[in-house]
């Protein structure tokens, strides 16, 4: 299974979509938002807040991109080829989930490093550790949603659906524009999204606040929903593979 993860990571690194949407764009947007004075309030606070937003946005990009890869692999007959090797279906799925989980690391790292080195964000070591873990572990529901789409939809459709979902969740979750700038009704919706809960956990940590139980509960709820969705997609794909 390690061989499979390694192979998939090699493929990700060579994937333009992953590099652009998962790593380059979030860093560029972070630098634009913070240095063109687009973020409101105190400069250092804005640098921290936007750093978390953009790290979350990049992580979403690579998590969903990983899901689109599954649809591509299905179309290429790769999943069937894997079924003809000694690997079990469970190993293949676990390998793909692991690839998604590892694939978000460069996205998060790139933005956090830009924050620390370019925008001179200063946090305590404990806070850094906390947001790294929260940003990382929190991507699992999104990986599962992306995989569900990848299993359920065909190549191009899956890629479009994942891109649209990723952008939709990023905007609606307040990763691009803070929810404080949203009209009330939109803000109410936003507070139920997984992307808002995901980023909010790290926002709290970065500003030394305690995590809100509500956010943990919402994210966990979506984790269950997307997990079931991915399982449903996988079962359906198994019948037609």
């Amino acid at each position: 299974m390690w061989g499979y993860i390694r192979l998939e990571l090699i493929r990700s690194v060579r994937d333009g979509g992953y590099i652009v949407f998962g790593v380059v764009m979030p860093v560029v947007m972070y630098l634009l938002f913070t240095n063109l004075g687009l973020a409101q309030g105190d400069k250092h606070d804005a640098a921290i807040f936007t750093m978390v937003s953009m790290a979350a946005y990049g992580a979403l990009g690579s998590a969903f991109n990983n899901g689109s890869g599954i649809a591509e692999d299905r179309a290429a007959g790769w999943l069937r080829q894997l079924r003809l090797t000694p690997m079990t279906p469970a190993q293949v799925v676990a390998g793909k989930v692991a690839t998604g989980v590892l694939g978000v690391v460069p996205s998060i790292a790139a933005v956090l490093l830009t924050g620390a080195l370019v925008n001179h964000v200063t946090l305590t070591p404990g806070q850094w550790l906390e947001i790294i873990v929260l940003l990382w572990v929190g991507t699992v529901p999104f990986s599962l949603l992306g995989l569900g789409n990848g299993y359920r939809l065909t190549g191009q459709t899956a890629a479009m659906a994942n891109l649209a979902t990723m952008l939709g969740l990023s905007i609606l979750g307040g990763l691009w524009i803070p929810v404080t700038g949203f009209p009330g009704w939109l803000r109410a919706i936003s507070e139920w999204t997984p992307s808002n809960s995901y980023a909010a956990l790290s926002w709290h940590a970065a500003f030394g606040e305690a995590p809100a139980l509500r956010e943990i509960a919402i994210l966990a709820g979506w984790l269950v929903v997307f997990g079931l969705y991915a399982m449903y997609g996988y079962r359906r794909a198994g019948k037609t593979a």
Partner: protein, 299 residues
């Protein structure tokens, strides 16, 4: 020693189509066997079931005496489906070393590359290879684990003559290691030249099974022609003759045992302008897969 492949009374229906209809066959180890049949004969469905990709509706399928899925898990089978398996953004070496490592006792990579004639292409991206080269990569994935049996579904379809020749050279290299090869094809000359045994499949069942010589004989398509003066009906009663056509003074005898037919003609002193035309497998194939059931044709 148990058979490499064993299908007993296997059926599979997709919607209203019965793709495989009571298929029974066994393949002992160490043979190269062709599954020959027209498009839609049920070859791919049979192969899908014997690789454990989907279960039969009824009947039993086993590889080396066990469940196909288990045989695949244990690395005893390698397969090359009709298409697919060529992914983007990896080199030949990366792809094959990954596949090899999923097996317990794979072929060494250099050996594998040499067998599949890929040594010079090892660092090329697999999605940038020609059709023939990509096919050899797919073949290499099938043999990477050094399995006892490889199953290839129409391995040479869509290949040009040169690429086909190269792939067969690779396959013979693998067969020489005492491995069992089962391949499907609708190229008759391929079955004739490459296989020790040909199983003709039509409408989901076995229409004929034997060496290509036996199959040609079975459908009695060797013709013995002689010039006869006068009454010719007695020729129809000669050994081996199953059917006869008379045109003018020329009689064409269809024989299932042309040697015996010729001997009998010689004994009767009726060998004027004798001509023996062996059937090619193509004639046999057409006869076997014609719309009329074979049984009635032979009766």
């Amino acid at each position: 020693m148990e058979n490499a492949v064993s299908l007993a009374n296997v059926t599979k229906t997709f919607g209203a189509t019965r793709a495989v209809d009571g298929l029974t066959l066994t393949i002992p180890r160490g043979r190269t066997v062709a599954l020959l049949g027209p498009n839609g004969a049920g070859k791919s469905t049979a192969i899908g079931m014997l690789l454990g990709l989907f279960p039969p509706d009824s009947g039993t399928v086993s590889l080396f005496g066990r469940d196909p899925e288990q045989a695949v898990r244990h690395g005893r089978v390698g397969a090359m489906p009709q298409e697919g398996g060529i992914i983007t953004r990896v080199t030949v070496r990366e792809l094959l070393s990954f596949v090899s490592r999923t097996y317990r006792e794979p072929l060494p990579l250099d050996r594998l590359l040499a067998l599949a004639q890929l040594t010079g292409l090892r660092d090329r991206r697999v999605d940038r290879l020609s059709g023939g080269q990509a096919q050899r990569v797919r073949f290499a994935m099938a043999i990477a684990g050094d399995p006892e049996l490889i199953v290839l579904d129409e391995p040479t379809a869509a290949l040009d003559v040169e690429a086909r020749r190269e792939l067969w050279a690779s396959m013979r290299g693998f067969a020489e290691r005492g491995r069992t090869i089962l391949f499907s094809t609708h190229y008759l000359e391929e079955a004739d030249e490459q296989a020790d045994r040909v199983i003709v499949i039509n409408r989901g069942r076995v229409a004929a099974d034997g060496t290509s010589a036996e199959i040609k004989r079975e459908v009695a398509l060797t013709t013995v022609s002689v010039t006869v003066g006068g009454e010719a009906a007695w020729l129809g009663r000669l050994p081996g003759v199953t059917r006869m056509e008379v045109a003018g003074d020329r009689a064409r005898l269809h024989s299932s045992d042309p040697d015996a037919t010729v001997m009998a003609l010689a004994r009767a002193g009726a060998v004027r302008d004798i001509e023996v035309t062996p059937a090619d497998l193509e004639d046999a194939f057409v006869a076997l897969t014609a719309t009329r059931p074979l049984a009635k044709e032979n009766a």
